[in-house]
């Protein structure tokens, strides 16, 4: 059982997202994260879904996804060289004159940027893979996280290969 990152190319039409996510819940697969947006083709969208399961389960979910008429291509990026990123916005408690400096130091180690400075809080923006964001969250917890907002994972293959060329 490990996380698989599925890249799903779909028709850019109303209702497609609910067809895809409905299929996951109906067949008993838990979605770990989800990201949807436009892609290189104007009339298509890309859905990136991280799902945990053994290889047989993942193969079944991919086959079921392929049966949806509006799904054009499903690829599992998990076993390929790839870049994966998430973005998180973290609102941390930071009263003036207390731990601000420490938090800013941590931010710089993680190459996170401070995107808002308030009297009692800071907002950090961080980009990275799941592990990096998890690590930063863990470190910041001691200062008090007021709010934590995180996108789903998106992924792309390294080199000139594209997911369309994957089997």
């Amino acid at each position: 059982m490990k996380p698989h990152t599925l890249s799903i190319l779909v028709e850019n039409k109303a209702g497609v997202l609910s067809r895809v996510t409905g299929l996951f819940s109906r067949r008993g697969f838990n979605i770990e994260s989800l990201a949807v947006g436009p892609c290189e083709e104007p009339d298509m969208s890309r859905i990136t879904i991280v799902v945990i399961g053994d290889d047989e389960k993942i193969e079944q979910v991919m086959k079921q996804l392929n049966k949806l008429i509006d799904v054009i291509k499903v690829s599992d990026l998990t076993n390929s060289e790839r870049v994966e990123r998430e973005l998180a916005l973290i609102k941390v408690t930071a009263e003036l004159g207390t731990s601000r400096a420490e938090i800013m130091q941590i931010a710089s180690i993680f190459r996170a940027s401070i995107v808002d400075v308030g009297a009692k809080s800071l907002i950090l923006q961080v980009i990275g893979d799941t592990d990096k964001i998890d690590a930063l969250e863990k470190l910041l917890r001691q200062y008090g996280i007021k709010e934590f907002v995180r996108t789903g994972t998106i992924g792309i293959l390294r080199g000139s290969k594209t997911v369309s060329s994957l089997k």
Partner: protein
Amino acid sequence: MKTGAKILVESLQREGVKTIFGYPGGVVLPIYDELYDSSLQHILVRHEQAAAHAADGYARASGHVGVCLATSGPGACNLVTGIATAYMDSVPIVALTGQVPTNLLGNDAFQESDITGITMPVTKHNYLVKDTADLGRIVKEAFYIAGTGRPGPVLIDIPKDVSTKVINEPPVPEKVILRGYNPTYHGHKRQIEKALQTIADAERPVIYAGGGVIISNASAELVDFATQLGIPITTTLMGIGCIPCDHPLNMGMLGMHGTEYANFAITECDCLFSIGVRFDDRVTGKTDTFAAHAKIIHIDIDPAEIGKNKHVDVPIVGDVKSVLRDMLSMLKKNGLKEAWLKKVRHWKQHHPLKCPSDGGLHPQYIIRQMSELLNGDAIIVSEVGQNQMWTAQHFCFRHPRTWITSGGLGTMGYGFPAAMGAHFARPDLPVFDVAGDGSIQMNIQEMGTVAHYKIPVKIAILNNMFLGMVRQWQELFYDRRYSFTELPPVEFVKIANAYGIEGVKVECSEDVLPALRTALDCDGPFVMDFRIEREENVFPMVPAGAAINEMIGGHPR
């Protein structure tokens, strides 16, 4: 300039539709107005569920796409069971529903329901038409999707203003091109070679054939292949009819209520050639012990079925007919597996299906009499439960598409309306619906429809005043605690008479054949109320979760 309703009706006619089953209502008024003087035959059912089942029965009997039509809200929702039934058994239907006008969508308007949302899990695809200009293309796509690849139901939801709007009809594309939908029809050559080699290497091969053989119209190829290599065939409930019942290689149905010999053969085989099947739990019983010693070959047009429930050694994605034709053309002669065939013959001889003969009125006897009288030249539809299993076991089917039953979903109330649909597909054949007293009461209102149009469906009710299959389980596994399965007696002939339908009540076995003859000779619909032994069971039976060779109610081994 045309209205959407006119475009719809013309599009249906372009697809070759002759008959549709439907029920009118507010938002489909424009469509019904167009049907009023159209050459399309419209059959007014008495409940929308029956329209969906009738379209399904039509499709199964003919192999062509069946069509049903309902209004928005409750009308559309009433189609859902029928659509789900068709989905589970891969039946091509196009369901048309009316919808509230586009400006009211999402406002909880009168008789609004999100039917595309509701049917998403039980349709192959569905559409909500937002623009009249898309209607012609969508109808064409819907028929294409429903009828190709692994067939299935497609729903088109049509808001009222889409039907009434008058437009200059845009040209409909000649060919449907959907970049996300490209079924694989031809099997991979190397996989086919591997399959042939696996079969040639086997000592004890068995063919396990399902509904995919019927859908693909590949019965002749299947029988040819099996005969040339001398391989015994067992069929699923959905595969019945793909080989004549009395063919020497036929072992009948396998699984929970399969024949003992089919289940023995599966358990002992060393090569299982699976064709158009899906390893359903009612077939496999405990999956670990199902064909545990066999190399498994599996042909299916739907790649998602391969390896879903059971590991497959040689997968072949493709249309059954195309793959079997390729296999036949590449076939090398090899000797028949005489020892294995002898063993199967021995099992068949010593473990036949039982037909009690103690003077009571037994359902098995009724089905066998029906079978003898009709000699395979009829369409037999069933409801769900004991009636369905007795028919599957004891009727001798000789042709594909003459056995119509709800397999996957197991929908009580399916048979009667599906039989109406089957009649319009094959008006040349007598159509019998084998029912139980429970099932028939789930769509008994369709007596109104068959009386109205004089549809000559013959209803044989195996009346035991029980919900028999559930009662059987209660008897065997719940200490005879018959919780809510007993039904008070109903005089079905009187109900039939009230609709203007002839009928007869039968209480002893001598009267069975005369009743069947009267039904067959009668021009219109006919009801037979057979008062059978109340606590008759369907045997043999594999208890839920057991291995399929662990049957109860069979012969001592």
